[in-house]
């Protein structure tokens, strides 16, 4: 394995986790997908790592990134909660659209009772 590659990768492990948190906070889907590929590559390279010093370095980097992983986990948790809220909201909106279609109303994009501002 190319040690230079491993070294560069491990040095950035903590930063990599922090960047994943930031990308998720900003809902930067393309960047997150890039990170998926980076992490897959890192896992492959790690499986082939034989150098003892590099192994120690990797372990140290992993320990140092622990708190950032905790943050990332929490951002992921918050995102899941947000996604659930948005999904429920969407279902409510779609429910209204179907109801309105049956009634033949014209305001196809108006806010919804309960979920909207109730101005109708």
């Amino acid at each position: 394995m190319d040690n230079r590659t491993t070294k560069a990768a491990t040095i950035e492990l903590k930063a990599l986790v922090a960047e994943a948190s930031q990308a998720l906070a900003a809902l930067d889907a393309p960047r997150l997908e890039e990170l998926v590929h980076s992490c897959e590559a890192l896992n492959r390279e790690l499986a082939q790592e034989n150098n003892r010093e590099q192994r120690k370095q990797l372990a140290r980097q992993a320990r140092e990134a622990g708190s950032d992983m905790a943050v990332f986990g929490r951002v992921l948790e918050a995102t899941r909660a947000n996604l659930q809220v948005m999904n429920r909201l969407r279902e409510m909106r779609l429910g209204r659209l179907e109801y309105k279609a049956q009634g033949g109303a014209a305001d196809w994009a108006g806010p919804l009772p309960g979920s909207g501002d109730g101005n109708h």
Binding site: L13, A20, A23, L24, A25, A26, L27, D28, A29, L32, E33, L35, V36, C39, L42, N43, L46, A47, E49, R55, K56, L58, A59, Q61, A62, R63, A65, G66, S67, M69, V71, F72, R74, V75, L76, E77, A78, T79, A81, N82, L83, V85, M86, N87, R88, L89, R90, M92, A106, D107, A109, G110, P111, L112, G114, S115, G116, D117, G118, N119
Partner: protein, 491 residues
């Protein structure tokens, strides 16, 4: 001719409707940079069809007004997350101050309390040094000097914590005043919106109310309950009413046991507010939980070091051959060879066999002025003996503070504090990230059509799925890295 007139009327009506719709768009553009403004969308109403020669022909639409593109559910979710984020930010700022006070960087100007852990070690080391020559005046001076440093740093830290607590009370009182002002404004807006809503969209008023709600959410934890005609009732997260449609209820303050408490309708709701969120929740959590917890640890250290050292010194013999004895008429439980002042609760504890350590840290001070009063010798061994100095140096290794040695207790306390700071920091980062996501979604919702809303939703979903993958991969990566770093014995 009638047909041409009808057609012309229809075209004219369409142009009018388009013109009205353009006005709505123009209004949106003009307010693009207005804080809190929510885009409006024109409302169309189908006109009654006209009948020509027995055939019904559509008569187009009329623009009947504009409706703000907001979603109360999403806005409420955003407000809730802001409450949590604001609470953790306020608490974190306070915890960082506590941490900086108790674990100062070497040479830091903020190290007003010094390094108490080192002070404890230095103090007991001074007794170890005295063992070598109990008659050496310089070594005796060193014991008193290190005792002064220890007592000074502990009392300084406690006084700083008390000062932080007072500042937090002041901040919280200021927040309560802002809350009152906002709830008053929201109640007034409720009345205006309710009078407008049955007939028209109260877009601008709603924007104002939403801005006030957003500000309120950063200050205090609230629940929102929609009422008729688009009115709104607001309660604290524990259910006390702050706004009921057009009426607002004021938070008041009062002093209870020396601390500022918060009342609503005569009920003390301080503890509910502390756990409720918003800046007020963060300040009160720091004031009523974090600072007292830190103070309690300092009090324990101060109390048990003072009483144990005093007890041992009074049991020995000083350089002039005296042993300790109770000071006549002392109400504090003082003895003649005390090195530290007796803690404020010492005498009461002796009487009741209690363990109240309150106030010990702030009051910690060295009362001994004559180094010859240090009782290095044990009774019956002569003044040149060092065995009592050995005993006092050995206090460093005795589990006198909550079944731990003084240094270990302090070290664990600081370590626990550090973990708590990390925990709140992580929580704060995650909550702020969540707020950012919701703001993105809210912005998308308030300015686009359903297709674009679906795209925003898709981005959220894709981001979540990709992030889940990243998390799993990173988890695997880190677990492998940690396993690789472990040394294994090959037999």
């Amino acid at each position: 001719m009638g047909t041409i007139n009808s057609a012309m009327s229809l075209i004219g009506g369409a142009l009018d409707a388009d013109q009205d719709a353009l006005s709505v768009v123009a209004n949106n553009v003009a307010n693009a940079n207005t804080a809190g403004y929510t885009d409006e969308k024109p409302d169309w109403q189908e006109n009654a069809p006209i009948t020509v020669g027995g055939i019904q022909i559509g008569d187009g639409v009329t623009e009947t007004g504009a409706t703000s593109q907001r979603d109360r559910v999403l806005e409420e979710r955003l407000d809730q997350q802001q409450q949590i984020a604001a609470a953790s930010s306020a608490r974190l700022a306070s915890l960082n101050n506590i941490q900086a006070l108790l674990t100062p960087d070497s040479g830091s100007s903020s190290a007003t309390a010094g390094d108490i852990g080192s002070d404890i070690t230095n103090f007991f080391d001074a007794f170890s040094s005295l063992e070598s020559d109990p008659t050496d005046n310089a070594l005796r001076e060193q014991v008193l000097s290190s005792a002064s440093t220890l007592a000074g740093d502990i009392s300084s830290a406690a006084n700083s914590l008390n000062g932080q607590s007072a500042a937090l009370s002041q901040n919280a009182t200021g927040i309560a005043s802002q809350v009152n002002s906002l709830t008053g404004a929201i109640a007034q807006l409720n009345l205006e919106i309710e009078s407008t809503s049955p007939d028209a969209d109260a877009g601008t008023l709603e924007d104002e109310r939403q801005q006030d709600l957003s500000q309120l959410s950063q200050l205090i934890g609230i629940n929102q309950v929609a009422t008729e005609n688009n009115g709104l009732s607001i309660t604290t997260t524990s259910g006390q009413l702050l706004v009921s449609e057009g009426e607002s209820f004021q938070l008041t303050t009062g002093t209870v046991d020396g601390a500022t408490d918060f009342f609503l309708g005569g009920t003390d709701i301080t503890s509910q507010l502390a756990s409720g969120g918003g800046q007020l929740g963060g300040y009160l959590t720091a004031r009523d939980q974090d600072i007292p917890s830190a103070l309690n640890s300092l009090n324990q250290i101060a109390y048990y070091i003072s009483t144990q050292v005093n007890t041992d010194n009074n049991a020995g013999v000083d350089a002039e051959g005296n042993t300790g004895a109770p000071v006549a008429g002392s109400i504090t439980g003082a003895w003649t060879l005390d090195i530290f002042s007796p803690p404020p609760t010492y005498a009461a504890n002796l009487a009741s066999d209690g363990t109240d350590t309150s106030g010990a840290a702030a009051a910690m001070t060295v009362v001994m002025t004559d180094p010859n009063q240090i009782a290095a010798a044990s009774a019956g061994n002569g003044t040149g003996d060092n065995s009592n100095a050995v005993t006092m140096a050995g206090i460093a290794n005795q589990a006198i503070v909550d079944e731990q040695t003084p240094v270990n207790f302090y070290s664990n306390f600081v370590s626990t504090l550090g973990s708590m700071v990390s925990e709140v920091q992580a929580e704060n980062t995650a909550q702020n990230a969540s707020v950012t996501q919701l703001q993105t979604q809210n912005n998308a919702l308030s300015s686009v059509n359903l297709n674009d809303e679906a795209a925003a939703m898709s981005t959220l979903e894709t981001s979540y799925q990709a992030a889940s993958q990243v998390f799993t991969l990173l988890n695997t990566l880190m677990a492998s890295a940690l396993n690789l770093g472990e040394e294994t014995t090959v037999s």
